[in-house]
């Protein structure tokens, strides 16, 4: 008898569980919500119904967490939740993948997203295949003040401007310059190079006279911008929308590849990532000079390597002998606002704060602010700390900002993945970059085709 009733109880319990599961399924299937409500189109996109004081969600990468913290301190009344993700670093595309999922679900979008890549506006401005409006909200159609937008450095919003509409705000500029360790240069009796040819010669001398010292690393996929964008190699071009062009057999691409191969062979270029666990312990006092974006200042020298003030000098980006100065552009993150946000007012406050307020851009950000006023204060801060040896570092950096080579473009996918797939493992196996050039171009062109570009 007792056994009978207990089995009945068990069955009842089971039924309850099954019913709960079924209810859960129903709830799941009914959450294909409609995103209607609101409908105001005065800002250049269809607004969601605004809910005053509703919390906003922000996605940032780890380096941008201080931006959120600073904002929380400055605006304790605005409720903000943040999630850390990889910032699409290395062209991982996680920003796009996550948004695609939310577009499919029709809900769940974050309000503000930071991306380390420059190409997200291309997909984020487009309507989705299911007819949903693009994720990124147009910013210069009445949403943000014209006056505020004018405060950004000239050309810094170009990557995120499509047909005159601005979709994202640049966090920092990323023009390349040449950093040298003046202490080491003086000790060895060397001059900082001004051309790629001199860079290679310095490599030969250094390898012969002071082996173990280095002039950079090829371990990160963004080196494609430093060395190929910076050397005016037409590797990644999109002359017009939907068209892709790459020529790794171009004279500049060949020349820079040979230089890099030589420096890999003599050991002055290494293959450890700047951000690997033991880069600092291996090379902190071995790095004699390196071409790189201005954000190396905070992210590499003051950060990872902890180089003390008064050692590093900054000179103009390397050029070809007899050629004009051309800088590469290595990132420079972008902030996007969601066109689906329910609290655009808070989003506006947040965007203006993180791009222009001193509390983040000057005090806590490692890079060179894209917002001019903040950039000046950032430069002043470095000058006050006498971080750089040369007093003219301000002009060097701001000049380089205007010298970024226009022959390197953004497309809907990142140039970093092809470099990571072909070149990084290739040189790790001991192959030369020169021998990898055709495979690299093929991979780039394949990627272009897959992404709907025509290759010319």
């Amino acid at each position: 008898m007792s056994q009978h009733s207990s089995s009945r109880r068990r069955a009842a319990r089971f039924l309850t569980v099954a019913a709960a599961a079924a209810a859960g399924l129903l709830a799941l299937s009914s959450c294909s919500a409609d995103a209607s409500g609101g409908g105001d189109t005065s800002l250049g996109f269809t607004q969601a119904e605004q809910v005053a004081d509703s919390p906003i969600t922000v996605w940032v990468d780890a380096s941008r967490e201080p931006a959120v913290t600073a904002f929380q301190e400055a605006y304790p009344d605005i409720e903000i939740a943040f999630e850390t993700y990889d910032g699409s670093a290395g062209g991982s595309g996680s920003f796009q993948s996550k948004i695609a999922l939310m577009d499919q679900a029709g809900e769940g979008w974050p309000d503000v997203v930071f991306s380390t890549q420059q190409n997200d506006a291309i997909w984020a401005s487009k309507q989705t295949t299911s007819g949903e409006q693009g994720f990124a909200a147009p910013l210069n159609k009445g949403f943000l003040d014209e006056e505020f937008l004018d405060g950004f450095a000239e050309g810094s919003l170009d990557y995120t401007t499509i047909d005159g509409t601005v979709y994202g705000l640049r966090n920092d500029l990323a023009q390349t310059v040449f950093f040298s360790n003046q202490r080491l240069l003086d000790e060895f009796g060397y001059e900082a190079p001004t051309t790629w040819e001199e860079y290679a010669e310095l490599g030969d001398k250094l390898a012969a006279e002071h082996p173990g010292y280095i002039l950079g690393s090829l371990g990160d996929s963004f080196m494609t911008y430093v060395y190929y964008g910076g050397s005016e190699s037409p590797v990644f071009q999109s002359p017009e929308q939907g068209v892709f062009h790459s020529d790794t057999s171009d004279a500049n691409a060949e020349k820079i590849s040979k230089i890099l191969d030589g420096m890999l062979a003599n050991g002055t270029l290494v293959q450890d990532s700047f951000f690997s666990a033991d880069f600092a312990s291996k090379y902190a006092d071995k790095l004699v000079g390196v071409p790189g974006p201005v954000w190396y200042t905070g992210a590499i020298f003051q950060g990872g390597l902890a180089t003390p003030a008064g050692e590093i000098s900054v000179s103009a980006p390397l050029k070809w002998e007899g050629g004009d100065v051309a800088a590469g552009n290595v990132g420079g993150g972008v902030w996007y606002a969601s066109s689906h946000s329910k609290n655009l007012e808070a989003v506006e406050t947040f965007l203006e704060f993180v791009t222009s307020a001193e509390e983040f851009q000057v005090d806590a950000s490692s890079g060179y602010p894209a917002y001019t006023e903040a950039a000046e204060k950032w430069l002043d801060k470095q000058a006050e700390a006498s971080y750089f040896v040369n007093d003219d570092f301000k002009t060097v950096m701001s000049d380089a900002a205007g010298q970024v080579w226009s022959g390197w473009n953004v497309t809907s996918w990142s140039p970093e993945s092809a470099w990571a797939k072909i070149v990084i493992p290739g040189i790790a196996e001991g192959e030369t970059i020169e021998s990898l050039l055709p495979a690299w171009q093929e991979e780039l062109e394949n990627e272009a085709t897959v992404n709907g570009y025509s290759v010319e």
Partner: protein, 287 residues
């Protein structure tokens, strides 16, 4: 079985059936629908043609095939071998300890076990960096070179998954009647002969079962390469496996139809291969 028990039987399977319908059958049907349509219009095999022509498709097929081959072979050989050995251990505590040890890694869920392996595989932080250096690997990039990946993934999957199969095989070995084993011993069979002529044939069904389950999991290789791709910033390509490619189609190219086509291909292949295991292993036959 009386009518009452039968009724409870239905109750017991109902939860599973509901979940199977919702998360197994319906998505499969939806994928089938998607794979033959584009934006709602029937397009025949267009989606399949597009996917097959993709330059990433064939390499992904080869990668997965190689991995599944390595993994299934190592699983079948080593799991059975280890189970027989553990079963043969006469010292009670030693046998228990061995089973427990084999099982422990399985308790670490998929993604986190890959993270753990990231540290093991990176010569700059690995506890076995000496071994990696001795094998000629200087950096993580060397270790996870595309050619090494099938072995790397096999090792990770074996480490995480073999333990539970060893325990299952152990249970199956316990089910072999004592009389049969005793008869073998009286006839003069040693441990190797017993294993080969008695235990292996009687484990056949279980081995097939393991094959089917592992095959299904193996063709869906995703978490391991996905995490390695992220950790190495795409040095392990983000399009290494078929499921990764399906993921890229859906969430990078916004092409859910192409993604569904890849999934359907995977389903057909996995079903076909499973059929071999099922019929060769006589999995559906009653004793």
């Amino acid at each position: 079985m009386n009518a009452g028990q039968l009724r409870y039987g239905y109750v017991f399977v109902s939860g599973y059936t509901l979940l199977l319908l919702a998360f197994g059958l319906l998505p499969t049907l939806y994928a089938l629908y998607l794979s033959f349509t584009r934006n709602g219009a029937f397009v025949g095999v267009d989606n399949f043609a597009r996917v097959f022509a993709d330059y990433r498709f064939l390499p992904a097929v080869l990668h997965v095939a190689l991995y599944v081959l390595f993994w299934l072979v190592s699983l079948i050989v080593f799991v059975v071998l280890l189970a027989v050995i553990v079963h043969g251990i006469r010292v009670r505590w030693l046998g228990n300890a061995a089973r427990f040890l084999f099982y422990v890694p399985g308790a670490i869920a998929g993604a986190s076990s890959v993270l753990l392996w990231l540290f093991v595989l990176d010569p700059s932080v690995s506890p076995v960096s000496g071994l990696l250096h001795a094998m000629g690997y200087e950096s993580l990039v060397n270790v996870v070179a595309v050619g090494n990946l099938p072995v790397v993934f096999t090792v990770i999957a074996f480490w995480a998954g073999a333990g539970s199969w060893i325990v299952i095989m152990y249970g199956a070995l316990n089910n072999i009647p004592v009389e049969v084993m005793e008869a073998a011993r009286i006839d003069g069979a040693g441990p190797v002969q017993t294993a080969w002529h008695i235990q292996l044939p009687m484990l056949k069904k279980w081995i097939s079962y393991m094959g089917v389950m592992s095959l299904a999991a193996g063709t869906q290789l995703f978490v391991e390469p996905k995490i390695l791709a992220q950790a190495t910033k795409n040095v392990v390509p983000e399009d290494y496996s078929l499921n990764q490619l399906a993921y890229l189609y859906a969430f990078r190219q916004n092409d859910f139809s192409g993604s569904a086509a890849i999934s359907v291909v995977l389903l057909v292949v996995a079903l076909g291969l499973s059929a071999i295991f099922i019929f060769r292993g006589k999995l559906f036959e009653r004793d």
